[in-house]
Symmetry: C2
């Protein structure tokens, strides 16, 4: 069993912990947290040993009546791999801790690419991360773009990708974020950081991205244009997408008009936390005009990277090749709507 | 003086009436309305003769203590030109009325293109509408796209336009519209109707558009990509845009991040109703990658077509050529931020 530490038990960390626990070849050794909030209590309720991420604050957990198993250092030392799911920028600061104990580490996409040896998307470049010590699982949006680019690039060849990312302003729990009643170019400069981030996975793909923020919390939506090397029928692209486990083709008959109904569907089929690990691509939107492919896809910012983290754990520990890992992850989590 | 009738005194009609009144060569003969609501009272307060758009409802105005000058037929008969600013679909039904009295008519962009002899944008094809009997002023979004396409096409040549329109869900007063907290592909099929609508102005421009709706009411925002026929410096495009009266280049120093601050600025400079008749293009966003031009522009759906209606009045009456009309309209309204 691969012994996994999860450092940071927020939006991503708690989901990764549950996904790791569901795997046949992994064990959650413990989770580390800075503060004794509702998530810390939920971690204990789920039976995860809880470690104090900041030693000086360990007393706060005592005061809140939450039992601490030890300092994060002990967790990192004992683990085969640590998943750093701390807020953006903290991961880079934690790197020396992981190096000190020689524990391979995964970072999230909010960190700069140079924190790691490899930026990772299971569908696109799993092999690059095998036996690497520091691997960065790219962000939700870059993950969503990579999963589409990989099959299109392999099957048709890509001349250029242009994507407008209509981003949710914040997650449902991030009550201090905006905007309210506005549509903000964000960043206002072009390209947004997402294009260069895609190039950490696909160095040779020509990609320009534009980002906006809107008053929504549930999911991002991408307006995607891919100029292919040859003209293609939309039906063929739909078939191609339908063959990808982490792409969910939302059929016309489902009558799903946006993220609200997508999340409702996820809850209805019993998904934990209503998570949508797959890109949700509206089948009707998949269209071609000559070599130009267009589609809309919704990306669940809280969860699409979770199976990617699970696969990255197997990559850095050399536990499986891409095909075996992705199949195991998908089966254990129930991926494939 | 050109005697102008305004049939429909809602979002567009009331603005067109005020803009017509501001012109040195036009007079508002009267405005027609179906119901005696707050806008009808405001029309009377502004001194516009009020006509009943539906004869059977004329009594309702009496009951509300609002004086009616007569039925809409009398207004149409007496006018040199009628601006139909009724809700989408009603304009087409009114066409026989305008034909009956042989009064040239302008329709709004919500009508199908075939309601009119010509679809109109002052910057792009003013001459086509000269002396036409039925002219359709294209929608706010098509107007916004046309104003950018015209100078780019003339100066550099256009290979292809791709635009994602992030649309406000409804106007501030449209309280029964959505979405709340969602991002909806709308229409989910590609292309949206906007691309074909642009082709009513530019038949030869290759243009694909995608539309979404979001929980905002103030303005639309376009994420725009134009592949030009030659590589161009972004600075040159900014200069080109800066020379266009109906394009407002939002400078970095203004620190305007979205529609909220744009509207605030419009109010601060004394614009009636906080209207933004110009496309609001973020200067920082104007970028080029080889032949690909990108930018963000905000489009005020309630007002950008207003000066276009004024110009179309001069076109159908043969009162001025494009240059003279646009200059007169801009001076009278104070266009050019």
């Amino acid at each position: 069993m691969i012994q996994v530490a999860v450092n940071g038990y927020g939006t991503i960390g708690k989901r990764v912990a549950d996904a790791v626990r569901a795997q046949p070849d992994m064990n959650v050794l413990g989770v580390a947290k800075t503060r004794p909030n509702f998530e810390a209590q939920a971690a204990l309720d789920r039976g995860y040993p809880l470690y104090a991420a900041v030693e000086e604050r360990a007393d706060q957990f005592d005061d809140a009546g939450m039992e601490i198993a030890g300092p994060v250092e002990a967790l990192v030392e004992a683990a085969d791999v640590v998943v750093d799911a701390t807020p953006s920028g903290i991961g880079a600061k934690n790197k020396t801790l992981y190096e000190e104990y020689d524990t391979p580490a995964l970072y999230q996409g909010g960190e700069d690419a140079d924190v790691a040896d490899v930026s990772f998307n299971a569908r696109s470049n799993y092999a690059d991360a095998v036996d690497a010590d520091h691997v960065r699982v790219v962000s939700c949006n870059t993950t969503g773009l990579s999963r589409v680019i990989a099959p299109l690039s392999e099957t048709y060849g890509i001349e250029k990708v242009r994507a407008t990312l209509v981003r949710r302003g914040g997650d449902p729990g991030q009550t201090s974020r905006g905007p309210i009643n506005d549509i903000l170019p964000n960043p206002v400069t072009v390209p947004s950081h997402h294009g260069p981030d895609v190039n950490t996975i696909f160095p040779d793909v020509d990609v320009d991205t534009l980002g906006l923020k809107v008053p929504a919390t549930l999911m991002h939506v991408h307006s995607l244009n891919v100029t292919l090397e040859t003209a293609v029928d939309a039906a063929d692209v739909r078939d191609l997408f339908a063959g990808e486990d982490r792409l969910f083709l939302v059929s016309d008959e489902f009558d799903i008009d946006g993220a609200g109904k997508l999340k409702e569907y996820a809850h209805d089929v019993g998904r934990p936390r209503g998570d949508l690990w797959e890109n949700c691509i509206w089948e009707e939107s998949v269209s071609t005009e000559g070599r130009d492919l267009y589609c809309f896809q919704a990306i669940h910012q809280e969860s699409d990277v979770v199976p990617e983290n699970v696969d990255a754990i197997r990559a850095v520990t050399g536990a499986a090749d891409a095909e075996e890992s992705v199949e195991t992850t998908n089966d254990a989590m129930g991926i494939g709507l």
